[in-house]
Amino acid sequence: MLLSIIAGGILIAVTDERVQAAAGYFFSRPLDTLNAIGQSVGGAYSALFQGAIYNFRRPGFAAGIRPLTETLTFATPLIAAGLGVALAFRVGLFNIGGRGQMLLAAAAAGWVGFSLDLPPVVHLLFAVLVGIVFGGLWGGLAGLLKARTGAHEVITTIMLNYIAYYLVSFLLRTPVLQAPGSNNPKTPAMKPNATYPDLFGPGYNLHAGFLFAIVATIIVWYLLNRSNLGFQFRAVGENPNAARVAGINVKSVYVWAMVISGGLVGLAGTAQALGTIKTGFGSGIDAGIGFDAITVALLGRSRPWGVFAAGLLFGAFKAGGFSMQAAEGVPVDIVLVVQSLIVLFIAAPPLVRTIFRLPTPGSRAPRRREAVAK
């Protein structure tokens, strides 16, 4: 039932998108026939598919499957950051600070990555750990401010975004982060020991950060659904007053939730700095992932595996969107439209039911099922 709703939602999103695209062509070339509209839309979608999953035009499986690995590469930071935002959502916090947390984590991990000399595995793990810690500290700062003074996390995380951006921009102009002998605000390349190793050799961009994202998903799942701390998280998220009465230290939950949330977003930052872009980075390293992560978390309904799937889907859109723009000249922004429509339709099952005239499910509120099942 739920699956059909989701599938229906995606279908609607796709048809809606066709209407949008058709309207776009209609204004620019009003004399074109419907046939042309169908062709261009079809072309765009096949380009999207070829850019995201499998490219039929390339010879052989190894080259054809490359887009899928691109998808996974794009998905890696989205999953990690999405998990962070989702975790905060479950505690009733809105972490818009992904950008700042990613920037700081990337800067810290990057510094470890290019300035220290450590043995192969240790170096990577240490750099990742430093990145997670810095992301966590930056997120925890917002949590601490909320817990101690009641400052709203939406304000503080937005402000911390700007502060982190300017801080990293400044550091990129100083010898701390700037590549020696360069005038560009850019770091030197990472030492090979500190980068995520390629999973399928140098021909593919996919790096071991994806494995970290899988591990993070498992950890977050365990944390939220099986651990004592996760129970407190969810209790505070459902009703902070009731949680306080029940003896849960709501303030420390806020702090720890933001620390862990920031740490996960920090992991996304390391995936960018140590995996996707190994040749040194500037202050745009976050690439808007901090905000994309919010949508990913929403689409995943703040469930760890849901976020994982949503991250994969959005990674596919990202990878495919660029190739679609290159091949068919359809602006990559259409991907945003499709993404947001999907989230809207998945978030509103009653609407989908109305459109398809489906019967209302007999048992009410399937969303609460999990709390009962536990």
Binding site: Q20, G24, F27, S28, F94, I96, L145, R148, T149, G150, A151, H152, V154, I155, T156, I158, M159, L160, Y162, I163, Y166, L167, S169, F170, R173, I294, T295, L298, V330, P331, D333, I334, V335, L336, V337, V338, Q339, S340, L341, V343, L344, A347, A348, P350, L351
Partner: protein
């Protein structure tokens, strides 16, 4: 001055004893330390010039010239004195009046500018003009946010409404070659975004934050798509709207210092003055406002006395969208003169912060929006006069100020009780 000295007074006030809040003195004290270290410790020689008049002023004020080092010391001592006074107030368990904090803030800014502009001149009217210009979309957005949240619908979609307004106003004004038609188009676009928000939040009971965030993405995607696909190839027809002329209000525009900023503006800004006053008045002094707030605070009670909760919410959220869309029109018709991809650049989120910073009050939210506008504008001024410390730290300062202000002064804010909660009639 340790953090541990702050009594944590965030527990629900069941036992309302005399609460001595040390937050304000503490926050002010931190700034005094910053001022002492930066402005005196790293004091600079020379004179700071504040240019108070523009070339077109009727009667010109002379430039204000302050010897930098002496001026900084005097002002920092004054700051310390105010802080001392707040300590006394806190000890007597009395509230610190808002105007005192405002005086403190202005003094700190002047202190900072004096220090930063040693050997250079600060164009004060230009600073204020720029501040207002950057604040206009924030203020409209914040007004929309206040109305939305007061009626019980969290409006995270301000960004989307601003962007939709900017887009629609550019296109409509270009096609009709009439800027007023563009304004109308902006309002309609804002309302349309609101319709979606309202429909999903009120009828389909989707989490309002989710709808808001997604709508932002949706509007960003749609406008960027149409911009690349349709507007850019036909920019002469579709993206070259007529701009509003600045209207000079005869006598008021000649008021020294503030006159140029406040009364040599486009019609959008004058509408803004009216809108701020009107929203405040209607929200707190009319039956409409009372009903609106009742629905936002306690929908069940409002329903009991015969107010249609869903309808009230729906139309007021639409109104909020119209106001925010209007603000978006300022970006294209008032400031830039054409639409650009993602031209709001996060203004909607800053407006959201202003709503919360302003405690869901139109006037306070407007002040908060002005503060953010000033913060963003400071960047331009500092790049002109050249700054003594790395510019990034200067740019950071406003945001740090905001955090300290939110943590120290606003403290635990209380949203309208039913904000963000869908109402299901039982």
């Amino acid at each position: 001055m340790t953090v541990a000295a702050v009594p944590v007074n965030s527990e629900p006030a069941l036992e309302r004893t005399v609460m001595r809040s040390w937050k304000v003195p503490l926050a002010l004290g931190i700034f005094v330390v910053i001022a002492a270290v930066l402005f005196i410790g790293f004091g600079r020689d020379g004179v700071s010039t504040f240019r108070l008049a523009t070339d077109s002023d009727a009667f010109k004020l002379p430039d204000l010239v302050i010897p930098t080092r002496v001026g900084c010391v005097v002002m920092t001592v004054l700051l310390a004195a105010i802080t001392g006074y707040t300590v006394m107030l806190a000890r007597a368990a009395r509230r610190v009046p808002l105007w005192l904090i405002a005086v403190y803030g202005v003094l700190f800014v002047v202190d900072f500018l004096t220090w930063a502009s040693a050997g250079a001149a600060v164009p004060v009217p230009g600073l204020l003009v720029g501040t207002l210009g950057l604040s206009v979309p924030l203020i409209f957005g914040a007004l929309g946010g206040v109305i939305g949240e007061r009626v019980g619908v969290v409006n995270v979609a301000i960004e989307g409404q601003l962007l939709a307004g900017a887009f629609a106003s550019a296109v409509v004004a270009s096609v009709t070659q009439n800027a007023y038609a563009g304004l109308l188009g902006a309002m309609i676009a804002g309302v349309l975004v609101s319709f979606v928000l309202a429909a999903f939040a009120i009828k389909y009971l989707v989490d309002q934050v989710i709808v808001g965030v997604v709508l932002n993405v949706l509007v960003t995607g749609l406008t960027s798509f149409f911009f690349s696909k349709v507007l850019t190839p036909n920019s002469a027809v579709l993206n070259s709207p007529p701009k509003f002329e600045r209207i000079r209000i005869p006598i008021l525009a000649d008021i020294p210092i503030v006159g140029p900023a406040l009364f040599r503006q486009t019609i959008i800004v004058y509408v803004m003055y009216v809108a701020v006053a009107l929203v405040w008045f209607c929200l707190f002094k009319t039956r409409w406002g009372l009903r609106l707030r009742a629905v936002g605070e306690h929908p069940t009670a409002a329903d009991t006395v015969g107010i249609n909760v869903a309808r009230t919410r729906f139309w007021n959220v639409s109104l909020a969208g119209a106001i925010a869309g209007f603000g978006g029109a300022y970006l294209t018709l008032g400031a830039v003169g054409s639409f650009n991809k993602e031209m709001t650049a996060g203004a909607g989120f800053i407006a959201l912060a202003a709503v919360i910073f302003g405690r869901w009050d139109p006037l306070r939210a407007t002040l908060a929006a002005l503060l953010f506008g000033f913060a963003q504008n400071l960047q331009n001024v500092l790049s002109i006069i050249g700054s003594p410390v790395p510019s990034e730290f200067m740019l950071m300062l406003p945001y740090i100020v905001t955090i300290v202000a939110v943590a120290g002064l606003v403290g635990q804010v209380r949203a309208p009780a039913a904000s963000g909660k869908p109402y299901v009639k039982s």
